[in-house]
Amino acid sequence: MRRVVRGDTDAFRRIVDATSEGLVRLGARIVGSLSEAEDVVQDSYVKAYQALTSGRFERRSSVTTWLRHIVTNTAIDSLRSRSRRPVPSDTIAESGWDGEAGAEAHMALAELNALLGALPPDQRAAVVLQSVEGHAVSEIAVILGCSEGAVEQRLVRARATLRERSAS
Protein backbone atom coordinates (compact mmCIF):
# COMPACT_ATOMS: atom_id res chain seq x y z
CA MET A 1 0.00 0.00 0.00
CA ARG A 2 2.89 2.36 0.80
CA ARG A 3 4.22 1.82 -2.72
CA VAL A 4 0.85 2.80 -4.21
CA VAL A 5 0.78 5.94 -2.05
CA ARG A 6 4.18 6.83 -3.55
CA GLY A 7 2.62 6.52 -7.04
CA ASP A 8 3.81 2.99 -7.95
CA THR A 9 1.35 1.88 -10.66
CA ASP A 10 2.68 -1.72 -10.64
CA ALA A 11 1.63 -2.05 -6.99
CA PHE A 12 -1.78 -0.62 -7.87
CA ARG A 13 -2.06 -3.12 -10.75
CA ARG A 14 -1.87 -5.94 -8.20
CA ILE A 15 -4.85 -4.44 -6.34
CA VAL A 16 -6.77 -4.17 -9.65
CA ASP A 17 -5.98 -7.79 -10.58
CA ALA A 18 -7.15 -9.04 -7.18
CA THR A 19 -10.37 -7.03 -6.98
CA SER A 20 -11.67 -6.23 -10.49
CA GLU A 21 -13.77 -9.39 -10.92
CA GLY A 22 -15.81 -8.89 -7.75
CA LEU A 23 -16.16 -5.14 -8.29
CA VAL A 24 -17.41 -5.52 -11.89
CA ARG A 25 -19.89 -8.15 -10.69
CA LEU A 26 -21.13 -5.76 -7.97
CA GLY A 27 -21.34 -2.86 -10.44
CA ALA A 28 -23.21 -4.97 -13.02
CA ARG A 29 -25.73 -6.11 -10.42
CA ILE A 30 -26.41 -2.50 -9.42
CA VAL A 31 -26.54 -0.88 -12.88
CA GLY A 32 -27.86 -3.96 -14.72
CA SER A 33 -25.32 -3.89 -17.55
CA LEU A 34 -21.82 -5.36 -17.84
CA SER A 35 -20.46 -2.68 -20.19
CA GLU A 36 -21.77 0.14 -17.98
CA ALA A 37 -20.38 -1.66 -14.92
CA GLU A 38 -16.92 -1.78 -16.54
CA ASP A 39 -17.05 2.00 -17.07
CA VAL A 40 -18.21 2.49 -13.46
CA VAL A 41 -15.41 0.30 -12.09
CA GLN A 42 -12.77 1.92 -14.29
CA ASP A 43 -13.80 5.39 -13.03
CA SER A 44 -13.77 4.04 -9.48
CA TYR A 45 -10.20 2.74 -9.82
CA VAL A 46 -9.05 6.11 -11.16
CA LYS A 47 -10.73 7.87 -8.19
CA ALA A 48 -9.18 5.35 -5.78
CA TYR A 49 -5.68 5.77 -7.24
CA GLN A 50 -5.92 9.56 -7.04
CA ALA A 51 -7.20 9.35 -3.46
CA LEU A 52 -4.38 6.99 -2.46
CA THR A 53 -1.60 9.05 -4.05
CA SER A 54 -2.90 12.29 -2.58
CA GLY A 55 -3.18 10.79 0.93
CA ARG A 56 -7.00 10.86 1.07
CA PHE A 57 -7.46 7.17 2.02
CA GLU A 58 -8.06 7.30 5.76
CA ARG A 59 -7.80 3.53 6.42
CA ARG A 60 -11.10 3.44 8.32
CA SER A 61 -11.95 0.20 6.50
CA SER A 62 -10.11 -2.41 4.43
CA VAL A 63 -9.09 -1.47 0.89
CA THR A 64 -11.64 -3.94 -0.53
CA THR A 65 -14.53 -2.41 1.46
CA TRP A 66 -13.33 1.08 0.52
CA LEU A 67 -13.26 0.10 -3.18
CA ARG A 68 -16.76 -1.37 -2.86
CA HIS A 69 -17.86 1.95 -1.34
CA ILE A 70 -16.44 3.90 -4.31
CA VAL A 71 -17.92 1.49 -6.89
CA THR A 72 -21.37 1.55 -5.24
CA ASN A 73 -21.45 5.35 -5.11
CA THR A 74 -20.23 5.66 -8.71
CA ALA A 75 -22.87 3.11 -9.80
CA ILE A 76 -25.58 5.11 -7.98
CA ASP A 77 -24.40 8.29 -9.74
CA SER A 78 -24.46 6.45 -13.06
CA LEU A 79 -28.05 5.30 -12.45
CA ARG A 80 -29.06 8.86 -11.51
CA SER A 81 -27.61 10.28 -14.72
CA ARG A 82 -29.46 7.71 -16.84
CA SER A 83 -32.39 10.04 -17.36
CA ARG A 84 -30.03 12.25 -19.38
CA ARG A 85 -28.75 9.50 -21.71
CA PRO A 86 -29.93 6.22 -23.28
CA VAL A 87 -29.71 3.02 -21.22
CA PRO A 88 -26.90 0.78 -22.55
CA SER A 89 -27.98 -2.75 -23.36
CA ASP A 90 -25.55 -5.67 -23.37
CA THR A 91 -25.89 -8.35 -25.95
CA ILE A 92 -24.37 -11.77 -25.41
CA ALA A 93 -22.12 -11.26 -28.44
CA GLU A 94 -20.88 -7.93 -27.02
CA SER A 95 -20.33 -9.28 -23.56
CA GLY A 96 -17.57 -11.67 -24.51
CA TRP A 97 -18.92 -14.43 -22.28
CA ASP A 98 -18.51 -17.96 -23.41
CA GLY A 99 -20.94 -20.82 -23.25
CA GLU A 100 -24.03 -21.57 -21.25
CA ALA A 101 -22.88 -20.00 -17.97
CA GLY A 102 -22.31 -16.66 -19.70
CA ALA A 103 -25.69 -16.71 -21.41
CA GLU A 104 -27.38 -17.66 -18.13
CA ALA A 105 -25.61 -14.83 -16.27
CA HIS A 106 -26.68 -12.41 -19.00
CA MET A 107 -30.31 -13.49 -18.68
CA ALA A 108 -30.20 -13.31 -14.88
CA LEU A 109 -28.76 -9.79 -15.07
CA ALA A 110 -31.60 -8.70 -17.38
CA GLU A 111 -34.10 -10.26 -14.94
CA LEU A 112 -32.53 -8.39 -12.01
CA ASN A 113 -32.60 -5.15 -13.98
CA ALA A 114 -36.32 -5.58 -14.73
CA LEU A 115 -37.10 -6.56 -11.14
CA LEU A 116 -35.34 -3.59 -9.52
CA GLY A 117 -35.99 -1.08 -12.32
CA ALA A 118 -38.68 0.80 -10.37
CA LEU A 119 -36.47 1.44 -7.33
CA PRO A 120 -34.54 4.67 -6.75
CA PRO A 121 -30.74 4.11 -7.15
CA ASP A 122 -29.89 4.18 -3.42
CA GLN A 123 -32.63 1.63 -2.57
CA ARG A 124 -31.60 -0.53 -5.50
CA ALA A 125 -27.98 -0.58 -4.28
CA ALA A 126 -29.10 -1.50 -0.75
CA VAL A 127 -31.23 -4.42 -2.05
CA VAL A 128 -28.39 -5.71 -4.26
CA LEU A 129 -25.89 -5.52 -1.40
CA GLN A 130 -28.20 -7.37 0.98
CA SER A 131 -30.19 -9.89 -1.06
CA VAL A 132 -27.84 -10.56 -4.00
CA GLU A 133 -24.37 -9.97 -2.54
CA GLY A 134 -25.33 -11.28 0.92
CA HIS A 135 -23.96 -8.42 3.09
CA ALA A 136 -25.20 -7.72 6.63
CA VAL A 137 -26.85 -4.34 7.34
CA SER A 138 -23.76 -3.16 9.27
CA GLU A 139 -21.53 -3.90 6.25
CA ILE A 140 -23.98 -2.18 3.89
CA ALA A 141 -23.90 0.91 6.11
CA VAL A 142 -20.09 1.06 5.75
CA ILE A 143 -20.25 0.50 1.98
CA LEU A 144 -22.99 3.11 1.45
CA GLY A 145 -21.42 5.50 3.96
CA CYS A 146 -24.60 5.97 6.02
CA SER A 147 -26.09 4.78 9.32
CA GLU A 148 -27.58 1.32 9.82
CA GLY A 149 -30.94 3.01 10.43
CA ALA A 150 -30.77 4.70 7.03
CA VAL A 151 -29.98 1.33 5.41
CA GLU A 152 -32.96 -0.32 7.17
CA GLN A 153 -35.18 2.52 6.00
CA ARG A 154 -34.07 2.10 2.38
CA LEU A 155 -34.64 -1.66 2.56
CA VAL A 156 -38.14 -1.25 4.07
CA ARG A 157 -39.13 1.23 1.34
CA ALA A 158 -37.64 -0.96 -1.39
CA ARG A 159 -39.50 -4.03 -0.10
CA ALA A 160 -42.78 -2.10 -0.05
CA THR A 161 -42.27 -1.06 -3.69
CA LEU A 162 -41.29 -4.59 -4.75
CA ARG A 163 -44.33 -6.01 -2.91
CA GLU A 164 -46.64 -3.56 -4.66
CA ARG A 165 -45.16 -4.39 -8.04
CA SER A 166 -45.42 -8.15 -7.51
CA ALA A 167 -49.07 -7.76 -6.43
CA SER A 168 -50.03 -5.78 -9.53
Binding site: G7, T9, F12, R13, V16, D17, S20, E21, V24, R25, A28, R29, L34, E38, V41, Q42, Y45, V46, Y49, Q50, T53, S54, G55, S95, G96, W97, A101, G102, E104, A105, M107, A108, L109, E111, L112, L115, V127, S131, V132, E133, G134, R159, L162, R163, S166, A167
Partner: protein
Protein backbone atom coordinates in the same frame (compact mmCIF):
# COMPACT_ATOMS: atom_id res chain seq x y z
CA UNK B 1 -48.83 -12.74 3.57
CA UNK B 2 -46.43 -9.76 3.60
CA UNK B 3 -43.69 -11.98 5.03
CA UNK B 4 -44.30 -14.69 2.44
CA UNK B 5 -44.00 -12.18 -0.40
CA UNK B 6 -40.74 -10.82 1.08
CA UNK B 7 -39.35 -14.34 1.52
CA UNK B 8 -40.25 -15.25 -2.06
CA UNK B 9 -38.54 -12.05 -3.27
CA UNK B 10 -35.41 -12.80 -1.19
CA UNK B 11 -35.28 -16.30 -2.62
CA UNK B 12 -35.63 -14.97 -6.15
CA UNK B 13 -32.88 -12.37 -5.60
CA UNK B 14 -30.56 -14.96 -4.03
CA UNK B 15 -31.17 -17.18 -7.08
CA UNK B 16 -30.24 -14.29 -9.38
CA UNK B 17 -27.13 -13.81 -7.23
CA UNK B 18 -26.10 -17.43 -7.87
CA UNK B 19 -26.87 -17.19 -11.58
CA UNK B 20 -24.85 -13.98 -11.99
CA UNK B 21 -21.83 -15.40 -10.13
CA UNK B 22 -20.26 -16.17 -13.53
CA UNK B 23 -20.15 -12.44 -14.38
CA UNK B 24 -16.65 -11.19 -14.94
CA UNK B 25 -15.05 -8.32 -16.83
CA UNK B 26 -14.16 -8.86 -20.46
CA UNK B 27 -10.61 -9.85 -21.42
CA UNK B 28 -8.18 -6.94 -21.23
CA UNK B 29 -10.26 -4.99 -18.72
CA UNK B 30 -7.44 -4.68 -16.17
CA UNK B 31 -5.10 -3.32 -18.90
CA UNK B 32 -7.77 -0.78 -19.86
CA UNK B 33 -8.06 0.29 -16.21
CA UNK B 34 -4.30 0.73 -15.87
CA UNK B 35 -4.16 2.83 -19.05
CA UNK B 36 -6.87 5.09 -17.58
CA UNK B 37 -5.05 5.26 -14.23
CA UNK B 38 -1.76 6.22 -15.91
CA UNK B 39 -3.55 8.77 -18.14
CA UNK B 40 -5.13 10.36 -15.07
CA UNK B 41 -1.57 11.14 -13.94
CA UNK B 42 -0.01 11.18 -10.55
CA UNK B 43 -0.35 14.35 -8.48
CA UNK B 44 2.19 16.88 -9.64
CA UNK B 45 3.98 19.78 -7.97
CA UNK B 46 0.75 21.82 -7.76
CA UNK B 47 -1.02 19.05 -5.80
CA UNK B 48 2.03 18.65 -3.52
CA UNK B 49 2.05 22.39 -2.78
CA UNK B 50 -1.73 22.30 -2.24
CA UNK B 51 -1.42 19.36 0.21
CA UNK B 52 1.38 21.11 2.13
CA UNK B 53 -0.65 24.34 2.18
CA UNK B 54 -3.69 22.46 3.52
CA UNK B 55 -1.55 21.06 6.36
CA UNK B 56 -0.40 24.60 7.21
CA UNK B 57 -3.96 25.97 7.63
CA UNK B 58 -4.18 25.37 11.44
CA UNK B 59 -0.73 26.97 11.94
CA UNK B 60 -1.80 29.97 9.83
CA UNK B 61 -5.05 30.35 11.82
CA UNK B 62 -3.09 30.25 15.12
CA UNK B 63 -0.56 32.80 13.81
CA UNK B 64 -3.38 35.10 12.65
CA UNK B 65 -5.06 34.90 16.09
CA UNK B 66 -1.76 35.68 17.88
CA UNK B 67 -1.08 38.59 15.51
CA UNK B 68 -4.56 39.96 16.15
CA UNK B 69 -4.05 39.70 19.93
CA UNK B 70 -0.67 41.42 19.69
CA UNK B 71 -2.13 44.19 17.48
CA UNK B 72 -5.00 44.84 19.92
CA UNK B 73 -2.60 44.98 22.89
CA UNK B 74 -0.17 47.30 21.09
CA UNK B 75 -3.03 49.52 19.93
CA UNK B 76 -4.36 49.79 23.49
CA UNK B 77 -0.90 50.70 24.83
CA UNK B 78 -0.52 53.32 22.10
CA UNK B 79 -3.94 54.78 22.93
CA UNK B 80 -3.04 55.02 26.61
CA UNK B 81 0.27 56.76 25.95
CA UNK B 82 -1.45 59.13 23.50
CA UNK B 83 -4.15 59.92 26.08
CA UNK B 84 -1.43 60.61 28.68
CA UNK B 85 0.24 63.03 26.24
CA UNK B 86 -3.05 64.91 25.70
CA UNK B 87 -3.52 65.20 29.47
CA UNK B 88 0.02 66.58 29.79
CA UNK B 89 -0.59 69.09 26.98
CA UNK B 90 -3.84 70.27 28.59
CA UNK B 91 -2.13 70.72 31.95
CA UNK B 92 0.71 72.69 30.40
CA UNK B 93 -1.77 74.90 28.53
Amino acid sequence: MKREVDEAMDERLAGIGRRTAALRPRAGFDDRVMRAVKASGTPGLFEDVLRAARAMVPVAVMAAALAMGWAVRTDRAADMSLAATFDAVELEW
